[in-house]
């Protein structure tokens, strides 16, 4: 329940944007037409079934010309009409709504880099860097620029828009626009290796004022540790390998392998939505990351329970 609550839905039939909504209507329209074709054809088979053993339909009889004509009508004429209509609606009209926005046509843009197996999120024109949780202002057109940090991934938040792959050597972009505030879950959609299944993300759409406040906080360096345990946790973090892989802005931890932890405590999940961000789960993660997400790059550091507790108290203070 907790995770679903944190992640939001991922259901393309429950759209929360103009884009997703149009795709949904496209789907229902296609389903209706497909249903008519399907039941029409199956109806013909059912008719044959009911008359089994009898000689053909009396109306058609052995008239080759008539049956050939029907094949032409059902096999060529009807499909051409339907396909032309579908082509115009889907590939000339709806595509205009869902396609990548031109550069500079949106109020803001966010860079997202897919890595095995998490998302690096950075906000253009600010030092703000975070992971897996993308905040956007509601009812605002946002351009997402996606890149690959290693292999091909696919950025996909179905309740907001279609997906776009991260391709090495090129930057793809897509439009995000949330009609109402909420949390919209997304997930890597292109097979990217061992933990492809655990590469979630969430888009948090919130009113502009709240978004601004959030971004301002994100742009700041990490707060200093409050209290002895946290301070000891910071020392342990810097002394062990943590700092060589993770970045905590404002400290000497500048690693770029794992996600940025500058404001880790402000995020609701860990390991790309694999577990909730609670002190207990964070401790479990640090103790044995390979048990929770086998194959991820974080090693088991062999820390003692008290050391882990100190690091957790440091990290949980990084609001």
């Amino acid at each position: 329940m907790l995770l679903a609550g944190c992640g939001g839905g991922q259901d393309s039939l429950q759209p929360h944007s103009t884009q997703s909504n149009q795709i949904r209507w496209l789907w229902w329209g296609m389903l209706i037409v497909a249903g008519i074709v399907f039941f029409g054809a199956v109806g013909m088979l059912a008719l044959a079934w009911l008359r089994k053993g009898d000689k053909g339909l009396p109306a058609l009889g052995p008239r080759e010309g008539l049956t050939n004509g029907l094949v032409v009508v059902f096999g060529i004429v009807v499909p051409v009409v339907v396909l032309v209509a579908l082509f115009i609606v889907a590939n000339l009209v709806v595509i205009k709504t869902t396609q990548a926005p031109a550069k500079g046509s949106t109020q803001m843009s966010i860079d997202v880099t897919g890595k095995q197996w998490f998302w690096v999120v950075s906000y253009d024109g600010t030092p703000a860097v975070t992971a897996n949780e993308i905040h956007i202002p509601v009812r605002t057109r946002v351009r997402i620029n996606v890149r690959s940090g290693d292999v091909i991934h696919s950025f996909w938040v179905p309740e907001l828009n279609r997906k776009i792959d991260t391709i090495n050597g090129q930057t793809n972009s897509e439009l995000l626009y949330a009609s109402r505030p909420g949390r919209y879950r997304g997930q890597c959609a292109e097979f990217c290796g061992l933990q492809h299944a655990h590469m979630g993300m969430v888009v948090v759409a919130e009113p502009m004022a709240r978004f601004r406040a959030w971004l301002a906080n994100m742009a700041k360096p990490a707060p200093a540790p409050a209290g002895g345990a946290a301070a000891q946790g910071q020392r342990l973090f810097m002394a062990n390998q943590c700092a060589s892989c993770h970045q905590i802005r404002g400290t000497q931890a500048q690693g770029q392998i794992g996600p940025d932890l500058t404001h880790l405590a402000s995020r609701s999940t860990l390991a790309a939505l694999t577990i909730a961000n609670t002190p207990r789960e964070l401790a479990a993660w640090i103790a044995n990351p390979q048990a929770i997400k086998p194959g991820n790059k974080m090693p088991d550091l062999g820390l003692s329970r008290s050391q882990i507790a100190a690091i957790v108290s440091y990290l949980e203070g990084l609001k």
Binding site: A34, L45, N91, T98, A189, G193
Partner: protein, 633 residues
């Protein structure tokens, strides 16, 4: 006995002697008989089908509930890859072309063997070698795990350093050689070995389908081979085809892969169309409606399939113009498919349908192909495709097409030609039960996948969280997959039991229209005592011609009893052009197969010099092969 033997009987005896096969295992290893090779293909591909099926069941078991632990993530990815590779390259293509095509095409066109019997044996041994090669990887714990589509950079040395990908790459190149040899053989056989009188417009639709498939393979496979070679060069020698930091491009892999990969889809289903167009006329007691249109549509499907590849790549950030072109081209494929679909339905509707097991499978096929075809059309709507691609919606779509539209007719074909191959009848009631079980199982397995995709479940995930609303559908699918497996076991059990206990039947128990029914069940080594006369696409329904064949045997016309002989004809008109001498059993195909397998094994192990030695041995085998002309043997 001798006193009452007619001239015809003496001729048959002589043919028996001339065409007699070497007994025992050696006979099978050295055989060049298309029927034996067809059976070898059948058993081998069914074994791979079982392996691919077990892989699928393991995956489904893993996904029965959230956070499953049946398979490790790595094992799941290996199953995922091997399932795809096995079902496509080691099951559907070999069973449809290798088994059905091999066994039936010479019989349907009234020939005594394939055009190149030794090359035919070679293609089987290469296929077997490539299958064993790839499964060796799995046995050694080094199976490929980057998906059957094997996208770079995931498949590059940096992200897949172990030998799994090399097993995939070399295995598929190996397999491709086999398919290429087989396809060239089918094309020449269909063009040149038709019984005199079988002009191209009198050729069975089955053969049109196989002609289209063979051409598609000939033209599509090299793109895969090219892609695989480039990947190996990147992986082995550090070249930069797919490496953007040195001017390479990761999308080059995808383009080359799908230029092959989409025609491949039609390669998979066209033989099934051919089987459907064989079964439907027999069980509806009428010729196919719109025969020329269907023949043309079969060829067109294969042709148009080459112009649509980038619809697999709508989410990679193609320019809108490019995407729209490929969407339009993809939609055009609907038309030849629609023609065939409605031609089948109209034939059933205007004939006298007898719903026996083979026709039931075809009805199931039509229903499943309708669903798979219609969901395919929805994927030509670019925005919708971009929403559901890489989700279970696509998995549902192509399983309806591949399982529903390709495997159903293959199973129907197994029942339909079982009496021809064995001389015994399958069990009708169990046949129907197995159909309904399989149909129910596959619907339960594959239909909910549409919904799962729409509500957001990506494909290729080894697990999924609870509370996403996906659990119930996944549970249903897993149960469905068990039922599906039970249905398939019933099919195999039915055929195995009937092999021993089935009712003995005569040559033509169903009243089929094509020439395979003209000969005995099972057919003799020489297929036909007299090369049959053909004056229409359904020669078995021309009773006068069949009686004339009997008279010809007595007169010794078109018996060709001086050696392993079969007539060669002209390509379009089917005029008799020459008498061809076919080679009899030969050790060269299997030797060349072994040398090739050894060469690929050495390439895998990076012993390039040894690989070169095996290549040279292979060349020497070829010299020996072409050294045995008739006067030298």
């Amino acid at each position: 006995m001798a006193a009452i033997a007619t001239p015809g009987q003496r001729r048959v005896d002589r043919l028996e002697r001339i065409w007699e096969e070497r007994p025992g295992v050696l006979g099978w290893l050295m055989t060049t008989d298309h029927k034996r090779i067809g059976l070898l293909y059948l058993f081998t591909s069914l074994a791979f089908f079982a392996a691919g099926g077990v892989e699928a069941l393991l995956m489904r078991t893993q996904l029965i509930g959230p956070n499953g632990t049946t398979l490790s993530p790595h094992a799941y990815n290996e199953m995922l890859t091997m399932h795809g590779v096995t079902m496509i390259f080691l099951f559907v293509i070999p069973i449809s072309t290798g088994a059905f095509g091999n066994y039936l095409i010479p019989l349907m066109i009234g020939a005594r063997d394939m055009a190149f019997p030794r090359a035919n044996a070679l293609s089987f041994w290469l296929f077997l070698g490539s299958g064993l090669f790839m499964y060796t990887g799995l046995a050694l714990g080094q199976a490929p795990d980057a998906g059957w589509f094997d996208y770079v950079p995931l498949a590059s040395r940096a992200y897949s350093p172990d030998k799994g990908i090399d097993f995939y790459t070399l295995g598929l190149i190996f397999n491709g050689i086999s398919s290429t040899v087989a396809s060239a053989n089918f094309i020449v056989t269909i063009f040149k070995l038709r019984a005199p009188g079988m002009s191209i417009n009198r050729m069975p639709l089955f053969c049109f389908a196989f002609l289209a498939v063979s051409f598609a393979l000939i033209f599509a496979l090299p793109f895969l081979t090219c892609d695989l070679v480039l990947l190996e060069l990147d992986r082995r020698l550090g070249m930069h085809f797919f490496d953007p930091s040195h001017g390479g491009n990761v999308l080059l892999w995808q383009h080359l892969f799908w230029i092959f990969g989409h025609p491949e889809v039609y390669i998979i289903i066209l033989p099934a169309f051919g089987i459907a167009t064989s079964i439907i006329p027999t069980f509806t007691r009428r010729r196919m409606v719109a025969f020329p249109l269907v023949a043309l549509a079969e060829i067109l499907v294969a042709f148009i399939g080459f112009g649509v590849w980038a619809h697999h790549m709508f989410a990679v950030g193609l320019s809108t113009t490019t995407a729209i072109y490929f969407a339009a081209a993809s939609m055009i494929v609907v038309i030849p498919s629609g023609i065939q679909l409605f031609a089948w339905i109209m034939t059933i509707l205007t004939g006298t349908p007898i719903f026996k097991t083979p026709l039931l499978w075809i009805i199931g096929f039509i229903v499943m192909f309708l669903i798979g075809g219609l969901s395919g059309v929805t994927l030509a709507a670019i925005p919708f495709d971009q929403q559901v691609t890489d989700t279970y919606y696509v998995v549902a779509h192509f399983h309806y097409v591949i399982f529903g539209a390709a495997v159903f007719p293959i199973l129907g074909g197994l029942f339909y030609w079982f009496p021809k191959v064995t001389g015994r009848m399958y069990h009708e009631k169990w046949g129907q039960t197995s159909f309904w079980t399989t149909f129910l199982g596959s619907t339960l397995t594959f239909f909910p996948m549409h919904i799962l995709g729409l509500i957001g479940m990506p494909r290729r995930d080894y697990t999924y969280p609870a509370h996403m609303g996906w659990t119930g559908y996944n549970f249903l699918e897993t149960i469905g997959s068990y039922i599906l497996a039970a249905g398939l076991v019933m099919v195999v059990a039915n055929l195995l039991v009937s092999l021993v206990r089935g009712r003995v039947v005569d040559n033509d128990p169903f009243g089929g229209g094509t020439l395979e029914w003209a000969t005995t069940s099972p057919p003799p080594e020489y297929n036909f005592a007299v090369i049959p006369k053909v004056t229409s696409p359904y020669p078995m329904w021309d009773l006068d011609d069949r009686e004339e064949d009997g008279r010809k045997l007595e007169q010794g016309v078109l018996v060709l009893e001086q050696g392993h002989e079969t007539p060669g004809s002209t390509v379009l008109d089917g005029d008799w052009d020459e008498i061809l001498q076919m080679p009899s059993d030969s050790p060269y195909p299997i030797l060349l197969g072994i040398a090739t397998a050894a060469m690929f094994a050495m390439l895998l192990l990076a012993h390039y010099v040894v690989a070169g030695i095996f290549l040279a041995i292979g060349a020497l085998v070829l010299v020996g092969w072409h050294g045995t002309e008739p006067q030298e043997s």
